[in-house]
Assembly symmetry: C2
Amino acid sequence: MSSWLGVDIGGTSAKLGLVDAAGRLHRRAAIPTGVGVRAEALVEALAGAATELAAGDALEGVGIAAPGFRMDTGEGVENVSNLPGIDGFPLRAALELRLGCPAALDNDANAAAVGEHLFGGGCDVRRLLVLTLGTGIGAGMVADGAVVRACCGGLGDPGHIIVDPGGERCACGGRGCAEATAAVPAILRHAAEYAGRAFASPAEVVDAARSGDPGAHRALQEAGRYLGMVLATLTHVLGPERILLGGGGFDAAEELLFAPARETLFGCVQPFFGRKLTLGRATLGNDAGVIGAAALLRTLPGATAAPHRSS
Amino acid sequence: MSSWLGVDIGGTSAKLGLVDAAGRLHRRAAIPTGVGVRAEALVEALAGAATELAAGDALEGVGIAAPGFRMDTGEGVENVSNLPGIDGFPLRAALELRLGCPAALDNDANAAAVGEHLFGGGCDVRRLLVLTLGTGIGAGMVADGAVVRACCGGLGDPGHIIVDPGGERCACGGRGCAEATAAVPAILRHAAEYAGRAFASPAEVVDAARSGDPGAHRALQEAGRYLGMVLATLTHVLGPERILLGGGGFDAAEELLFAPARETLFGCVQPFFGRKLTLGRATLGNDAGVIGAAALLRTLPGATAAPHRSS
């Protein structure tokens, strides 16, 4: 069976999987990462896990999704605050050499967008924006078959769009950023404040809201409304036909975030864009990273090797 | 002398000019347009004016800038509310055929960005955003040598980024849009309200502010601060290294808009982007449209014909 290998590098582990031509994930593996991981050791560990996964079959290619900004050469990533050991390392070339097959690399937000575009909930539109809500907020876009590349191979950092001027301080130093109002830490903080008790996860907040806790419910409603404002801004700047929401924070909350976000978005977006726009949920779930990484090899028609290098 | 022809199509006139390899404009012409203009008649009038301008010399190419969204094929523009007669018409192919030289077409916001990138104040940066402030607000971006194409060949419609939720009604139906707070009609309306008398142009508001009229001054300060918020949002989504401001509204007001916009932008933009960002004035002035149109032929290294068609 011919397979592509998808590698999704995260702050605590790297997930690997064999992905077939229809975007189905067949075998999985994971190796630990962490703030102390060194690039060369990571490449060796990934190569070992990949060889085991392939079980004697030849790999057609390897796609790598990594957090941070993609380097302009398409070789590695920059500004990976949670994985400083791979910051600036030519990860693409190293894995290509080590595994002996073509490799493509992009940041995780772009990989998620490419995966949903090819194999998920964005197959049928020309302009797809995928927004991931977790500890932070990430966004990637595919338009007319290509990743939108404005800054370092992708979008800037939409998590710091200001939706509440003069609002709460964000870790970036600004006030009222999207992340400070709608991401998971903000939901936990506000739920604790309104409900008068601590929550360990967004799922706990959601459970409390569903059990009738008005404070937990209010925290989710507020976050959803701010999320809707972020989506409206992204729509006005980028004009997507579809926005898909995903990520751990969103998946836990589902309708409790989705409904206020949708209401806010369609309540304020310009009709020219709003008429064409649909809002939905990312469909690849926990496998989005690995499938999206493998999909990087197939973004451009006929491409088998690193299709995303900048000109 | 080898020359490129630049054609800048506007709501009341189309400007033409011969532009040399250094981006200098040598000869100018203009023909009337207007809401009633038909596409075929416009092509004939442009061809006549072009032939006269060329005065026997062969044209190496013609670049066309037009308002509205570029069609996905790169052949014409859509949604040209002020020039419905050319909406959807294959203007690029028609002029290529009629003039017998390669033609490129893009929307006016992209053309302005390409012109400033090649021949103006953005020559020395990799990521340039050009924002034009007039009756509306337009924006185009060049990153790593290519126009950023998210929606219909460019950016969406940043004039409707919401900077004052719940604020004044915008013509689009929304509230507190960038255009409703910072574009020329908003400046005139607010100056009239605060100063208690009518103004016919932004230059009049500026004169009044410089003569000590506190109402006129306040209107410009407010518009400048909202403009700064728009710039911060665009920076977070797109990550430019430089933003250049231009357009009739901005050129008239100069420092009175620039200073509050700059202060607001750098006061709230995420440090990661703010450290690398410079804010300046577009340098091509009144000729930006024609020079930018001609520059469309030269965006990609070695390109001599329509380099901007979508894949």
